[in-house]
């Protein structure tokens, strides 16, 4: 059975959504089976995994801070900065992002729970959970709904109107990447929603106070208290902390952009998502995300968001299971004729940037429908 999705008006040469011949209900059932399988086997081993990551993160953080306290010695600076950077990356992606998705709520442990977790990031957990878990994951790559599609300042698909400011988007993307954590905090405040009257000014001010308070705590820790405690090593310590935060921002930015913007990833219109069935929702998640190929270290350091497709299909399954189910997911998608966008980090990164540059320019040809980005065969 092929489930119909509103596809009018369709340009003769534009790709089908769903791809021609997709039985979305069968696809949904096959993916549900994968999910059920993981749920049935979830247990002690998974718990051990997350406890290990927690312990490794805390040890790296202690070690890194200790080394930076004596970072007048260059080797101590190097070791300390590397350890702190790794700690912050683990904390941000494999711990913060995944725990706040509720991936570990089944353990019923209030110490590792989506409702109690607070991360080492200027964005307060509650603000991020709203924009990311709710808005982005519900409306993945839907133009006008998914604010992550361009983060309100970038144009990432032809379905977004071009404005002259987009001409500069390669520059402000590059300049913003090192400060990604701060820009993300700003973004999570949803000032644009206030202008569009989707959010009250009162709520905005309340959230802004929360963000400022948290941001000050974060900054004071890294740029004031620890350097002061380091005494003679104050300056190298401060530089070490700055390096760790910047590197973490650059890395998170890279992982996140490679998850939804490389060639082959589609965007959607609101009409396309009307009356979406579970199978069609799965299909949109798969078409709207991209994986990064690589080894275990890459997967762990990216919080397993290198398995972005798997994450978007099953955002609440424990992250350590994504690698295991990825081959099965790929098989199911391929069998249903659904493209599976993946590639090595460099390739995905390059094609993301190519898209940022391409979309900076106005369209020469008018199309009424989106197509997989990078598909220039008009």
């Amino acid at each position: 059975m092929v489930t119909a999705v509103p596809t009018e008006p369709v340009l003769p040469d534009s790709p089908d959504v769903p791809p021609r011949g997709t039985d979305t209900e069968a696809l949904g059932r096959a993916l549900d089976r994968i999910r059920a399988d993981v749920l049935a086997r979830r247990g002690a081993e998974d718990a051990r995994y997350i406890h290990t990551v927690v312990a490794v993160h805390r040890r790296l953080e202690i070690g890194g801070r200790a080394a930076l306290a004596v970072s007048l010695l260059p080797p101590a600076w190097l070791v300390g900065t590397a350890a702190l950077t790794t700690a912050k990356i683990l904390e941000n992606l494999e711990l913060g992002h995944n725990i706040m998705h509720g991936q570990w709520d089944w353990m019923r442990d209030p110490a590792i729970h989506s409702t109690t977790w607070e991360w080492d990031n200027p964005t307060p957990a509650y603000a991020w959970k709203h924009t990311h878990n709710h808005i982005h994951h519900t409306w993945t790559n839907v133009v006008g709904r998914d604010r992550d599609l361009g983060f309100t300042v970038l144009r990432m698909t032809k379905d977004q109107a071009w404005r002259p400011v987009h001409l500069f988007q390669p520059f402000y993307t590059a300049l913003g990447a090192p400060f990604f954590e701060w820009l993300a905090a700003l973004y999570d405040l949803e000032a644009d929603a206030v202008l569009q009257r989707r959010k009250s000014l009162r709520a905005f001010l309340r959230d802004a106070t929360g963000t400022v308070r948290k941001g000050v705590r974060q900054a004071a820790k890294d740029y004031l208290f620890f350097p002061v405690l380091a005494g003679p090593s104050a300056l190298p310590c401060l530089l070490g902390n700055l390096t760790a935060n910047t590197a973490r921002s650059l890395w998170a930015h890279t992982v996140i952009f490679c998850g939804h913007f490389p060639d082959g990833v589609r965007s959607f219109t609101v009409e396309e998502t009307e009356n979406e069935t579970r199978g069609q929702w799965y299909l949109r998640q798969a078409l709207g995300s991209a994986d990064i190929e690589g080894g275990t270290v890459l997967h762990v350091l990216s919080g397993n968001l290198s398995h972005q497709i798997e994450h978007h299909l099953f955002p609440d399954l424990p992250s350590n299971r994504y690698a295991e189910i990825a081959p099965r997911v790929r098989e199911v998608l391929t069998a249903h004729g659904v493209p599976y966008t993946t590639g090595p980090l460099l390739k995905q990164y390059a094609s993301t940037w190519a898209r940022i540059c391409r979309m900076a320019l106005p369209d020469l040809r008018r199309t009424t429908r989106s197509r997989p980005e990078g598909d220039e065969s008009v």
């Binding site: 002690a44 442990d109 209030p110 878990n133 709710h134 994951h137 820790k221």
Partner: protein, 373 residues
Amino acid sequence: MPRRVLTEGAVRLVLGAAGRLTTPLLPDDYLALADPLLSRRWPAGRVEEVRAETAEASTLVLRPGHGWRPAHRAGQYVPLGVRIDGVLHWRAYSLTTPPDGPGEPFSITVKALPEGRVSRYLAHRLRPGDVLRLGPAQGTFHLPAPPPRRVLLLTAGIGITPVMAMLRALSDEGGTAGTDVLLVHSSPDPGRTVFGPELRAMAERLPWFRLHEHHTRAGARPAGHLTPARLPAVCPDWRERATWACGPAALLESAERLWAAAGLADRLHVERFRPLPPGPSSPAGSLSSDARVRFAASGVETTVGAGTPLLQAGEAAGVAMPSGCRMGICFGCVTPLLHGRVRDLRTGEVHGEPGDLIQTCVSAACGPVTLDL
């Protein structure tokens, strides 16, 4: 005591300052890496000893960590969190030892129930060195100080545990002048009486303490259950005594009826072990029926069908429900379950215990449910 307050204050101050460095975590989270017992945020205890009391019951001696407040009263219970297959389960158990100094070990006694995954784990699989989460000691089932002159303790089976703490506390204090305590305890047979030898030794040794053992299955003529109707024969002056009762629900209910009929309800104190939530097979939890859902904080009650998400049910009844994606992915709707069990509409799995956080958008009531909203 002022010394203690002083050090406690100093510790708080240091931890507060250190919190600036560990934010958004607490110093606790790092200390707990070295030893979970150092955590104040998530109080824990370490198993020091596991002692078999009978074939089914074991006594666990636990050393509590820093976060556990030491002051408990004999007769109170303590919530224990144990991790089984990665999942933390909470159960409450009566403390069987009288209060001791801070950080001093205390004990609980667990009887393995045939269907009780958690009780069997605690009684048979726990080993010295294992760590459990601890909740604060609580409950109002304890003797006043000083104790009343005449006391009746009425217990059956594992219901002996809170009473054991009372007896040990009294015996540590040398009884209290003029106190007279009678324990009427029912168990299957002498060999399966938890604390049997100790109780008998106490009865020999302590002039103020008498023990009446009732055995339901011992000897040629099993005596049957201990019913309050038989009580006057064993304890003629039961009306004049202040009574503490603990045991199976049937015993407690009939005791409550007897005392109420005699107009003495305020002289009877009962302790119920926390009732388990109704299982999926109980009639209340049958698949097809509608269920009562209560929203405790807003005082709203409503009836919902077996397939209706609780989020929808609450909104229809006018309760301000937190929500987000409404499809089980954002966890914006999680709400504490106070009572009952729920069905995950995605998997059909029936789950839930008091205190669990459930996603109301993908959960339906399975029998009567109370939410903290």
